[in-house]
């Protein structure tokens, strides 16, 4: 089953290549493949590891849930891509990239994960191909490659420190771990590459780079912590988390376009996950990964919704959406729920995980004002879109939302609401599937 899971995205990428220009076929094919991957991942967690030239690949049970979550979000992006006109390369490229991300997730060592992530970065570049995005794609590839190659080096240093001279390894491993993870997670100021991605009309590339790579890199932190030095890592991670939270929250408050606000809100939410990673608690890593998984679903919903608004109303700018609710009620409902989750407000999934993380971080009570700002900034930035849309007349020349896509968006958002109300639903479902 694990072999099938790892081969399936590449086989589907080959299958979608000949029909990549026929959006009506390629988009549903890619979406169905992601749904299949989401369903297969829990079963793959029970399988024996696969040997690969002296290394091994195995799916940990917790990681299976994250793989399923990412696949479900990507299925939405593929379905949405059929409406928002992604480039023809996005179907095969995103599938191959997700295959490499799965391989990185299953890798027994951070070194191998770094190599697979490096290859995945190239796939993201193909997903970004569009008129006038060549420079952005090249810069993103270069920055992300720096991060993945540093992770590769850090992984080697971790393995070497256990086998060879433990004294010389930290000189290579420590900076490699710190800078590599900072770039891949996208913490401030190393995450400035992530913000322009949300603005361009390529939500799949933005999702894979910002949410996919970040989630998988975070899974490697417990392993690499010993190379970086636990105290140094905890301190740097905690402060960069706080800086990312405030930077994202303030940036979201100042944004006028929805896609831009989502990028900043995602950065603010990342700051919370990074706080969990730097808390030093034994459950910090898994809490951060779970929070990043919820963030991934919310980001997918909001980026697709931003593109839908752009197509239906000509722009996703808050100033041009007056009265838009009448034409796209389901989309705005989905935006509202996903925005609540991304901002960490009740009763959504993001609220549950954010509350647990912030209660783990030992700070003075006065920090509560800062945490509140971290939630209010993104919440206000996205909610004012919904408020602005309640006007009497729809924008002239606008068109109605595509009902099927709006329903899909709403279903994903309702998923975040249901997980917020029943936090253990994911684990229960996993147990049900995996027996």
């Amino acid at each position: 089953m694990l072999t099938t899971l790892l081969v399936l995205p590449f086989a589907a990428a080959l299958a979608t290549w000949p029909v990549r220009r026929v959006r009506q076929i390629a988009a549903p094919l890619a979406a169905l493949t992601y749904v299949l991957i989401a369903a297969l991942a829990p079963f793959a967690a029970r399988q024996e590891p696969i040997a690969l030239l002296g290394r091994s690949l195995a799916m940990a049970p917790d990681n299976a849930i994250y793989a399923s979550t990412l696949a479900i979000a990507l299925a939405l992006l593929m379905a949405g891509g059929g409406f928002v006109q992604e480039s023809g390369l996005v179907w095969p490229s995103s599938l191959a990239t997700f295959g490499l991300l799965l391989a990185a997730m299953c890798s027994s060592s951070a070194q191998l994960a770094g190599a697979f992530l490096s290859l995945a970065v190239l796939g993201i570049a193909f997903c970004l191909v569009a008129p006038d995005t060549a420079q952005l794609a090249m810069r993103t590839v270069i920055v992300l490659l720096c991060g993945t190659l540093l992770l590769l080096l850090a992984g080697w240093a971790f393995e070497a420190s256990r086998l060879e001279d433990a004294l010389t390894m930290p000189s290579l491993g420590r900076p490699a771990t710190l800078f590599g993870l900072a770039v891949l997670l996208g913490v401030f100021p190393f995450g400035l590459w992530a913000l322009p991605l949300g603005r361009v009309e390529r939500p799949t590339a933005a999702f894979l780079a910002v949410c996919g790579i970040g989630l998988i890199a975070s899974l490697r932190l417990p392993e690499l912590g010993s190379v970086a030095g636990t105290e140094l890592l905890a301190a740097s991670v905690r402060w960069s988390g706080i800086a990312t939270l405030f930077y994202g929250a303030i940036g979201a408050l100042l944004s006028k376009r929805m896609s831009e606000a989502v990028s900043y809100a995602a950065a603010a939410d990342l700051g919370v996950a990074v706080l969990a990673l730097g808390s030093g608690a034994p459950t910090g890593g898994s809490l951060a990964a779970r929070h990043l998984a919820y963030r991934a679903v919310a980001c997918a919903v909001l980026w697709v919704a931003a593109r839908v608004l752009g197509r239906c109303f000509g722009s996703d700018d808050v100033r041009s959406l007056g009265g838009a609710f009448r034409r796209a009620p389901l989309t705005f409902l989905a935006i509202m729920l996903a925005a609540l989750s991304l901002a960490g407000l009740p009763p959504t999934a993001g609220f549950g995980s954010r509350t647990v993380i912030l209660s783990m971080v030992h700070t003075k009570p006065s920090w509560a004002i800062g945490w509140a700002l971290g939630a209010i900034g993104p919440a206000w930035a996205l909610m004012r879109l919904v408020i602005a849309s309640w006007g009497p007349t729809p924008p002239p020349g606008s068109r109605r939302e595509p009902t099927w896509l709006a329903v899909l968006l709403l279903l994903h958002s309702l998923g975040l609401l249901v997980i917020g109300l029943v936090p253990n639903l994911g684990a229960w479902l996993y147990g049900l599937f995996a027996g």
């Binding site: 008129p131 995005t133 080697w156 010389t168």
Partner: protein
């Protein structure tokens, strides 16, 4: 093996050509880098693996040369005012930057040699990575940035394959190199098309 002055001369030539022109002449610099990498990795890799890697490097060079040639044709037909100011400054600016990177690399290599690596490998790694990263920041075109990224990747590979010369790592890094070449070609073509659209 090469002595340090010989190695410095080869590295200066390889990166200097790239700094002088990020087009056809730059590809020659990249070719020299591939040959130098093969030379430095010769004692570590099995002959078939080494030759396969060299063949891949040559193929990459050829692919990039074709792209660079088509870029050059469009560049000639562009009005001078639309060329990026940094590009207009000529290769002299790039050469000065590479010279700076070279001096810094020589300094770092003597002060902080990479642990467990031969001195020639340390110097090559520092020189190529620093020059590559510096050229990325000053290059205006996608092709130039891509060639600079390949230079930095070459520097990383020279050092990393000394640390882990396993077949899996050699294969994955070669695949990464080929993939990066394809990305550069596709994105350069994309930039070329948008330049043509701008020119009408």
């Amino acid at each position: 093996m090469l002595s340090t002055p010989q190695l410095v001369a080869v590295l200066a030539l390889a990166t200097g050509l790239l700094a002088l022109s990020a087009r056809r002449l730059g590809i020659l610099g990249l070719l020299i880098q591939f040959l130098l990498r093969t030379f430095l990795l010769m004692p570590l890799l099995l002959s078939p693996v080494l030759y396969a890697q060299l063949a891949l490097g040559l193929a990459s060079t050829l692919i990039l040369y074709i792209t660079a040639a088509s870029q050059a044709r469009v560049q000639h037909s562009r009005p001078r005012r639309t060329i990026d100011p940094l590009v207009r400054m000529g290769g002299l600016y790039g050469l000065l930057c590479v010279a700076l990177a070279g001096f810094v690399a020589l300094g770092i290599y003597s002060a902080f040699p990479l642990p467990g690596l031969p001195s020639a490998t340390s110097l090559t790694c520092y020189w190529l990575v620093l020059s590559g990263l510096l050229l990325i920041t000053i290059e205006g075109s996608v092709l130039g940035q891509g060639l600079a990224a390949l230079t930095a990747l070459n520097g990383f590979e020279v050092a990393f394959l000394h640390l882990d010369a396993g077949l899996l790592m050699v294969g994955l890094l070669s695949l990464l190199e080929l993939g990066l070449v394809l990305v550069i070609v596709v994105l350069s073509d994309q930039q070329l098309q948008s330049n043509r659209t701008e020119l009408g």
